[in-house]
Symmetry: C2
Subunit: 332 residues, 2 copies
Amino acid sequence: MAAGVSRATVSRVVNDVPTVDPRMRAAVERAIQETGYVPNLAARSLVTRRTDSVALVISEPPNHREYAATFLNRVFTDPYFGRLTAGAQEVLRVEGIHLVIIPADPPAHDQVLRYLRQGHVDGVLLISSHAADPFPGQLADMGVATVLSARPGRPVPLSYVDVDQPTGVRLAAEHLVARGRRRLGTIAGPQDMPAGQDRLSVFRDSLARQGLPAPPVVEGDFTRASGEAAARALLDAHPDLDGLFVANDLMAEGAVRALQEMGREVPGDISVVGFDDSSAALEARPQLTTVRQPVEEMAGEMARLLLASLREPQRSPRTVIFNPTLVVRGSS
Amino acid sequence: MAAGVSRATVSRVVNDVPTVDPRMRAAVERAIQETGYVPNLAARSLVTRRTDSVALVISEPPNHREYAATFLNRVFTDPYFGRLTAGAQEVLRVEGIHLVIIPADPPAHDQVLRYLRQGHVDGVLLISSHAADPFPGQLADMGVATVLSARPGRPVPLSYVDVDQPTGVRLAAEHLVARGRRRLGTIAGPQDMPAGQDRLSVFRDSLARQGLPAPPVVEGDFTRASGEAAARALLDAHPDLDGLFVANDLMAEGAVRALQEMGREVPGDISVVGFDDSSAALEARPQLTTVRQPVEEMAGEMARLLLASLREPQRSPRTVIFNPTLVVRGSS
DNA sequence: GTGAAAGCGCTAACAC
DNA sequence: GTGTTAGCGCTTTCAC
């Protein structure tokens, strides 16, 4: 071509095939520089059947429940997704794999499904938190390589990563009790999400096992505003509560704020323990005691699982569970 | 093929070409159903030279400044990006164009550039807020169809959308004065961003024009935490301030919180006006008086400008400026 | 180590 | 209205 060599040689140079004469390689590289040549991705992936990119899809199923904030506002307001992205990026980057983020709320569902199926990406990291979300099953049926960010609501033949929820919740419950709190309540996550369900049921069990009464519960939607409202409702109905387990940090931050506005001292009058250890835990005043999920590592593992299944398509799905830890700060 | 028709007819059916016998169309569609046929994107876009997808790239240039939070944490914590995405989605969706979101912090820059240039997407909506960001210029040089979300720091032959910053700032300044405030201060945005610069310089001018003294200034980085710290610094140095203009709502929310912790009543002792009218304005207590940017509409316009330049590649760059409005709430 | 040639799966121009 | 055919730009055997 421009460097006086064949199309095949150019291809070898571009793809770093070792068996190329160094001088020829140099000549080709210079020609590429000068002509501003850019390989055509479509042509390449037509033959290689790879795109070297994967999607991080954040799925929201058709609403069973009402949300105060829109889907995209929730996504771009919850530090959880940033941590997930960061963790995945880090391992994909070194492999030269591109990551694209695709929000998939109900009106976009079909379009996103088409996008993924068409082969724009080699695989998908799927954040799907609702038990009834059909997305994981659909991707599995279509044979799209997929790894989930948490135990799916219904069994699906896909790999997933999760935190050991029961252990995390127990850490929180035992900590509250160790602090001398006995009149405990909880702000639960949405009960149509496995994470929301687990954190509530295990908390109840933990208290029962320690001989404490069943806690009053108000359900939130994992947003700061819902945590605020829930804390108000809880304390209005049970003014004597002295400890609160909140299913995520964003709601816990809102709860602390509401408690203070109601004239309660945190942790003087009432202890609050959150879940996640997200940046919201550090923004709260006082900063939150919380159950830490190693989200970045979990996302990294998702990426690794996906890469492995890309390399070995027949590989059977696996599950990787991470250990949570308790981070004690000012709110308890 | 499976339906006993030619490859070309299948293509016509799949692409909704009108000149196909309805019976034949039905037969083909049935066969597609049964065989689970999925068109190969790479092959299609090799010939059409389109991918029917565009990228929303959020760029962060090499750091001049220190940030307390990581790039991805800032992105997934600032409601601004959610509104932008929502606005763009809405117009792209009806055109059948896919939107993928790509965060591009400095370590990812080259990789993202490669991604965009390879033709994974037909064009890009670029969020680049730093004056020194080389990204817009690079994309322009590479001939990648691009629309910017704000006036670029250096002139670049690309279309962009912006809000009329001076008008917005004046609305805020005049409102504070109309409220009887005379001892005004401001929390500015980063001074390496055009938006940060404009909002500060115009605020200064406005006060000067009204015969008020130059306001004390502390610079933040558009995060809630920085707004909090800035308010503390400002009030420590100037305890008599009775009005604050804050360059975005997130910082204003933090500022209000700090003021209250310092024992100031908002708006009793001091009025606060934000900028954006994001969800943060509604989360603050009291809710924020703020300058509203029609971000969703602006993003929609970005998408429209991009689609137009895709259809007509020679089209010259244009600029669309939106009008801000003042939304009066409890904080003033 | 390098070139020639086949072919990836599709669309579009052209005959029929 | 439908089939035939010629590429789109790359990678990859296969000779040399």
